[in-house]
């Protein structure tokens, strides 16, 4: 599925309109509570911001690896022959849901984040104990906790990544999603005002959400093409896996 690796990155990038509310506040608190000597030095501040992000993206990747394994088991359970294809169709539908959610047309999608609430109840006190952050290692540790913060967008991307079918691919997809979120989360402190205004515009959200829906339909079409191709080719179940994977 290398050909659709840009999907999780794009979801992360578009999440700018979604992250401002929760993660914008958190990154603001994290950076402004740093000692003045850190805040006054651009490279030191960048080091801390990178450490937060590295921690967060690492948690996403770990979650992606776990969901990749679950996805693999699911393929075999559903159907060893068609499980992969069914999961990919499910992933495309999920991507439609993500797009509609980002656009503001499907707010109920956010209920997905309830899945992570019990885990977060255990992790949150740990995160609070790490504040205020005193060293880059603290920042990394906080980022690792932050990565598990319940978020409808992260969880839906995680479910999407289940279609990856392997731990490595799942981790890669979620890491790419995390990288996509970096401009929004790292820029939140500097561009808070602009980003908030940008994210508040319903049309912006609708355009970005609509693009994700188009992407979802595009991946469905692409998969259909690959299936057609393999159906007309000689003995191409193996070939098909290569093409889709």
């Amino acid at each position: 599925m290398e050909s659709i690796s840009w999907v999780p990155f794009t979801i992360g990038l578009f999440s700018a309109v979604h992250c401002v509310g929760m993660c914008g506040g958190i990154i603001g608190a994290l950076s402004m509570s740093l000692p003045a000597r850190v805040r006054d030095s651009r490279w030191r501040l960048s080091l801390y911001l990178l450490a937060y992000s590295l921690g967060r993206v690492s948690s996403y990747a770990l979650a992606g690896a776990l969901i990749g394994v679950v996805g693999q088991q699911l393929f075999d359970f559903i159907s060893p022959q068609y499980g992969h294809r069914i999961m990919q169709a499910f992933a495309a539908l999920l991507l439609v849901g993500i797009g509609l959610y980002l656009a503001g047309w499907f707010p109920r999608f956010a209920q997905l984040e309830r899945i992570g609430v019990p885990l977060w109840r255990r992790l949150e006190p740990l995160g609070r104990r790490l504040l205020p952050v005193k060293s880059p290692f603290h920042a990394l540790a906080f980022g690792l906790v932050w990565g598990w913060l319940p978020c409808g967008l992260v969880y839906s991307t995680l479910l999407w990544a289940a279609a990856a079918g392997t731990a490595g691919q799942g981790a890669l997809y979620m890491a790419l999603f995390g990288l996509g979120t970096l401009p929004a989360v790292m820029g939140a402190g500097l561009l808070a005002g602009w980003l908030t205004r940008f994210a508040r515009q319903p049309r912006v959200r609708q355009v970005l959400g609509g693009l994700l829906v188009v992407m979802a339909l595009g991946t469905l079409w692409y998969q259909g093409q690959v299936v057609d191709h393999s159906a007309h080719g000689p003995g191409h179940e193996h070939h098909q896996h290569e093409a889709v994977d």
């Binding site: 509310g21 929760m22 993660c23 914008g24 506040g25 958190i26 603001g28 608190a29 994290l30 402004m32 509570s33 707010p107 109920r108 956010a110 209920q111 984040e113 309830r114 609430v117 977060w120 949150e124 995160g127 609070r128 504040l131 205020p132 913060l149 319940p150 978020c151 409808g152 808070a192 005002g193 908030t196 205004r197």
Partner: protein, 319 residues
């Protein structure tokens, strides 16, 4: 704010609210200024109190100041205190709101309503951490965490010159935005029993029973006044239908009428309106707002310039 005198926490499991509360729990562990945004009645003061109670300053004072209610002439002495005899009427020494919050949290509600001279003094205090009571020669250092709140578009106020840009950046370190009740899916159903139970204790009355049809109607309503409006409704229903069932017909007219769950600020009065009069009035207002500039007025009304000119002529509006 009546809501804050009894309700002690923000109630609701909706993702929109929970996201803010999760961010707030982490933000509380730091000691930096916070700007709480949200429509009127969303519970900004409750969020500020929650930040204070989860912070290391919880054992100290939480001082809430409604900036909209500060008379400009007295704002300085009310905020920073005054010495006895500093001005006519200063019969005794007054510490002021800021000094009262020393070691704790100062909550500045409706901060966008502060006048420009008071904004300048607030900025000075935020930058130096020092205040000078009226009539006092020296300054005093005060350690407070400032949480400000507004339902205004502060960026717009900055552009219009009504709010100081430097103060805006000083306050907007951590923005937290409370969602309006209409975006908090499922919270109305959770808030009604919570608010009713709380109010029943206060009034010594039995909680009314809302029928499922009434609850469905209430969940469809847009709640322009947010939780404050819902609380007022619960109080009204408690007094009128204590211990009895509340049916859709018992709900106020505006809720019964809003079958479409419209969030439009325009409401058709029960007695109806004269559409032409409304249209000509809106055109007059647009022309007034734009000082007679017809192109800008047309943009405000979402019309082309030609259409506006036609309507100005039609209604014989002098511009």
């Amino acid at each position: 704010m009546s809501m804050t005198t009894t309700t002690t926490r923000l109630v609701g499991d909706s993702p929109a609210l929970q996201q803010v509360l999760r961010a707030a729990a982490l933000v509380a562990a730091t000691d930096v200024p916070v700007l709480v945004r949200g429509e009127s009645g969303t519970g900004k003061e409750l969020l500020a109190r929650s930040l204070h109670e989860q912070s290391s300053r919880a054992a100290r004072e939480f001082v809430s100041v409604n900036c909209a209610a500060l008379p400009e002439a007295l704002a300085e002495s009310l905020l920073y205190g005054h010495k006895r005899g500093a001005f006519t009427g200063a019969v005794e020494h007054q510490a002021g709101f800021v000094a009262s919050a020393d070691g704790g949290t100062l909550f500045l509600d409706e901060v966008g309503e502060l006048s420009l001279p008071v904004q300048a003094k607030l900025l000075r205090f935020l930058e130096s951490g020092e205040l000078q009571p009226v009539g006092h020669a020296g300054t005093r250092r005060v350690d407070v965490r400032v949480i400000a709140a507004t339902n205004r578009d502060l960026e717009e106020a900055v552009r219009a010159g009504r709010f100081r840009e430097d103060l805006y950046y000083r306050l907007n370190v951590i923005p937290l935005e409370l969602p309006p009740l209409r975006e908090r899916e499922g919270d109305v159903a959770q808030l009604i029993p919570h608010l009713s139970a709380e109010l029943s204790v206060r009034h010594g009355l039995e909680v009314p029973r809302y029928s499922s049809a009434a609850l469905a109607r209430l969940q469809r309503y847009g709640w322009p006044g947010n939780v404050r409006e819902l609380r007022n409704l619960c109080e009204r229903m408690l007094v009128l239908f204590s211990g009895r069932a509340v049916e859709p017909d018992n709900l106020p007219l505006e809720i019964r009428q809003e079958a479409t769950a419209s969030t439009s600020p325009f409401r058709l009065p029960a007695g109806g309106i004269h559409l032409d009069s409304l249209e000509s009035e809106l055109i007059r207002q647009a022309l007034e707002l734009t000082a007679g500039n017809r192109s800008r007025a047309a943009r405000l009304l979402g019309l082309s310039r030609d259409t506006l000119l036609y309507r100005i002529k039609k209604y014989a509006i002098a511009s």
